[in-house]
Amino acid sequence: MGDLFSNLSLGFGVALSLQNLGLAFLGCLVGTLIGVLPGVGPIATIAMLLPITFGLDPTGALIMLAGIYYGAQYGGSTTAILVNIPGEATSVVTALDGHEMAKQGRAGVALGIAAIGSFFAGTVATLVIAALGAPLTGLALVFGPTEYFSLMVMGLVFAVVLARGSILKAIAMILVGVLLSTVGTDLETGEERMTFGLPFLADGIDFAVLAMGIFGIAEIMRNLDHTEHRDVVRQAIGRLLPNRDDFRQSYKPVLRGTFIGAILGILPGNGAVLGPFASYTLEKKIAKDPRRFGRGAIEGVAGPESANNAGAQTSFIPLLTLGIPPNAVMALMVGAMTIHGIIPGPQVMTKNPTLFWGMIASMWVGNLMLLVINLPMVGMWVRLLKVPYRLLFPAILMFCCIGIYSINSLPTDVMFIGLFGFVGYALIKFGFEPAPMLLGFVLGKLMEENLRRALIISRGSLETFIDHPISAGLLAVAAILLVIALLPSIRKGRDEVFTE
């Protein structure tokens, strides 16, 4: 324990130097801004800003890049709440209730609770990394293909529970999502599947393209076909910050979200994406009145946002302690470290203690800065909603196009968001929920790959999923959840609740 304090004080000594404070602030600011722009994600930004960091010392450079990363997570929720465009998989759930809250004139409250929840989660996650980072690495190693497949199965069951309205439609959407995720080059054989021989489909469909089309573009079209609805939003801005009542409703979801997110964030293969979904499902399941979810429930913002930020932070654990990046942004951080002459691996902690602890301390500093940057800006963001929609939507559209192009520099991606926009619009009109489809899409690929990997390693024996205790446990939870969701009596009640 004494070690922890001396290490942390070493870290804060580094993080609180004037230069590093400035860099953390710069990173957070840039991150927030690019997060707010739909589609311009942390990956494109960090890649673009890498050369600028060449002149800095490695610690300062990494502090700034890390700031961009979690700044973007914050900013991403802003767009999800205000204009219903989740820039990343992790803010899909925030859009569900967050945007509903905005429509009811509670945008400020939603943004505020997202910022406060994230700050709390960030603080806890920083402590977790500092205290348990090294021992927790074991968790990343326990999760092999078998465990991962079972975790994904559980995730898909979450998706069913997550859905509003008809369970049949929800399952259909999940399956469409899974199907879409199989487009592209098959990982094991290298064969192309469902690409129609088109080269730009060879690597599959990008998540951002699908999400931006289905949510963002479709939302714009829906808004344009009944404009009067938007006027209501503009008139009622409401309170800017959450009040005591809001806090009373949110603090438990924040605690639970932080816990769930922190654990899932450590898992390899982007386990962090499950965090917000899992938190939302949990909140909905234990809520006294699940009907409020999807209609502007503050718990539906507080929980997932905390889970999101906790996961974003703890996903640094495999990177810092093992040198293994759990997702694409972390892979980029590996690149940034190598360019600066630090090769990530288990020895970073002992060989570069100032960098290691400095970064951890700067995470907390960064979170504090984000709160300071974001809370005063809530008013400004909310005022954005006052901009007449006829002026706002071309701007959103343009940023979507620029953002999506910046990811892979592919013109076809821009066309695809248009196409998926039409699909999304049609889905809304026919009463299908897009969220389960996105979850199916995210989990489908991981699920298929891990299933095949697990079966190849076990030489085709299905028993492997039951022989591994963690895998068996996860499957059991999934089965129980599914039974609860599908029990006829419950389903009947559910349908009554959700048909309007």
Partner: protein, 324 residues
């Protein structure tokens, strides 16, 4: 149709600008890196171009166009205007293994480029899980032969360096382990460290930290000389394996038709960059191998590409590997 349009546009652009090499470069140069930012090729590109930009007096901007084992980015770069303002970082996969892996490849590595020069090689290391019941390369090879049906080999996806070099390894030592594909080196290493899969071959920059941290075992490095980053790991030859010397080289190319004086300027800038102490140190820290003066020339690169295509095609074809 699209190709024709592109060719027309390129031709029109060429006619309009002419071959104006005087004063080149007058604006920033784009270097297409055909892999995601942060990977070994991207890191090498950024280190090398950092110094090149200073020599040329114009910034070289890295554009990452990932996809299809790097062939998406190289295809785009090959079809861009040959005016020296679009260059690319090709590597062993895109300019060696790709013709065998992608039957519909839209470029020919030996014909469609103006080689600039070799940037850096990253040696391949044969690594295994910590619990593997072998202590050196010899006992490892024996184990492989007697337990062929039990052993799993991990790789980072069809078309990746670890995949091609892995198949090459299997053909040299004549074993057929079960191949397990991952999406990238990270997850593959994760499972190797967790003892879920048995062994793999990969670039030194990816595996060295885990070897130094005793999370995985290294049996041999596939270069003629040991690496200063891993001084205790014997070369394949020292360890008794002939015929497995392979490195993932990275090299700068321009599209075919780039004016010779532009090629010369770029090539000189690259050479200068590789002589710079700071660039050298950064590459060596990664475990990179810096090419000798003779290896850096455009002519030497052209020969390397030809010999690499000739080397990889039969190996990969025999293994039935294809990414289409």
């Amino acid at each position: 149709m699209k190709k024709i349009a592109l060719a027309l546009a390129a031709a029109a652009g060429l006619a309009a600008t002419g071959a104006q090499a005087q004063g080149y470069p007058t604006r920033p140069i784009t270097m297409i890196v055909p892999f995601a930012a942060g990977g070994p090729t991207d890191v090498i590109a950024r280190i090398v171009t950092d110094h090149m930009s200073r020599t040329l007096g114009q910034q070289i901007v890295i554009e990452n166009v990932a996809g299809a084992g790097g062939t998406t980015g190289i295809t785009r770069a090959a079809q861009s205007q040959p005016d020296g303002y679009t260059i690319m970082m090709g590597h062993m996969g895109t300019h060696g293994a790709a013709p065998a892996l992608y039957p519909n490849l839209k470029y020919d590595p030996t014909k469609d480029f103006a080689p600039i020069g070799l940037a850096a090689g990253t040696p391949i290391v044969i690594v295994a899980k910590k619990d593997f019941p072998a202590t050196d390369l010899k006992s490892f090879l024996e184990y492989l032969k007697t337990n062929a049906d039990k052993v799993n080999m991990a790789h980072a996806g069809v078309g990746s360096v670890s995949h091609s070099t892995g198949i090459f390894f299997n053909s040299v030592v004549k074993v057929k382990p079960t191949m397990v594909a991952y999406r990238g080196t990270g997850p593959a290493l994760n499972d190797l460290m967790a003892n879920t899969v048995d062994f793999m071959t990969d670039q030194i920059v990816n595996v060295a930290p885990q070897i130094q941290g005793n999370n995985i075992k290294a049996f041999a490095i596939a270069t003629p000389e040991r690496s200063p980053v891993l001084p205790n790991v014997p070369t394949t030859k020292e360890a008794g394996l002939e015929g497995y010397e392979v490195s993932a080289w990275n090299a700068v190319f321009a599209p075919k038709g780039t004016p010779p004086d532009v090629v010369k300027k770029l090539s000189d800038a690259l050479m200068k960059s590789l002589d710079d102490e700071n660039t050298k140190k950064r590459l060596l820290d990664l475990g990179g191998v810096i090419p000798t003066n003779a290896e850096r020339t455009p002519e030497a690169l052209q020969k390397l590409v030809e010999s690499e295509v000739a080397r990889w095609t039969p190996v990969l074809k025999a293994a039935g590997a294809s990414a289409e």
